[in-house]
Symmetry: C2
Subunit: 192 residues, 2 copies
Amino acid sequence: MDFVASVVTGIATLTQTLEDGRRQMVGLLLPSDFVGRPGRSNAAYDVTATTDLVMCCFRKKPFEDIMVTTPHVAQRLLEMTLDELDAAREWMLLLGRKTAREKIASLLAIIARRDATLRLKATKGAIVFDLPLTREEMADYLGLTLETVSRQISALKRDGVIQLEGKRHVTIPDFDQLLEEAGDDSDGGPLN
Amino acid sequence: MDFVASVVTGIATLTQTLEDGRRQMVGLLLPSDFVGRPGRSNAAYDVTATTDLVMCCFRKKPFEDIMVTTPHVAQRLLEMTLDELDAAREWMLLLGRKTAREKIASLLAIIARRDATLRLKATKGAIVFDLPLTREEMADYLGLTLETVSRQISALKRDGVIQLEGKRHVTIPDFDQLLEEAGDDSDGGPLN
DNA sequence: CGTCAACTTGATGCTATTCAACTTTGGTGG
DNA sequence: CCACCAAAGTTGAATAGCATCAAGTTGACG
């Protein structure tokens, strides 16, 4: 990995794997997110595109030079990294303490909120979006099995918290109810 | 929180809590670690000292000024934040995919390794240290209950992976065996 | 010597996993 | 066009692993 990069369009995942194959997603890369570590040569994670992906790449060396000469860049990068750290910690709370149902609801809320901000749509009435992840990828995100993901999605559908059209197309009639199911404190937490 | 700070001696924890009281530790602050977020006013986490604690505090405003005028500081802070992010991601793998036994073994390995580097002792032969955390704090770290922590520690003791003297004093006769139990790939991961 | 917090241990229940069978969907070539 | 296939997803039954509830035990300290 001789590059750093920024996601332009598409979605990629950062994952870590144990020798026996257990996998955990540790980052979800969305448009505008930054990949790569200035000042370290080897990649610590697997980066996998889950959709067609366009990234804006920089050779690492020139980029590091820019960082030194342009303090503004380093400061902006620090800010972004702190945001990622906040997101990672929110995620740790999810992984360590939430039930399967709460995990699913949280993930749907995160995707819905991000999707809403990206498309700059008013968040009044029902929210509609397509899941950018397979059941297995969701499982790897949430520290669950794909079967449990499928069951809990079915349960949320049965209980009217979400509506499904096909396997990926989701409608959320009442976002507050979804947040309730997610178990977060009311304000909702960070966006990424 | 009008301060940022650096830990000098002692140990503190960063925790997040769900309304119903479920708690997850999201950071462990050891000597030399940095606390606080430049460019954000409200603290997102609970910071709790678990031992007597000495911190080196800076008012946020002057510190931010230093950051702007001294690019070297911002770069160093970025480096530290990226390290924290790596640690958080390692931790996510633990929370999402490891068994209770592997979680305990991983925590012991982290503490042992950090303790060894701090005291600059050769890592040959048995490693000896005191647990800086109660069973409950370990549980909050690992996403377990305190009873499960207690049981797994007892099990590791029964199996000869660790030795216990009192409740806190731990001896690790074979560090490689402990790493084996932790389920990590052989090299062992980052230190914090 | 009594008290309290930290810890241990046991019995039981529940949640998520595991293993397995089956269904749906989208794409490919006959 | 449609039969076929693979990948993705659903659902069921049985089980494992951790949580929960409930007693005890230990050690430090007044």
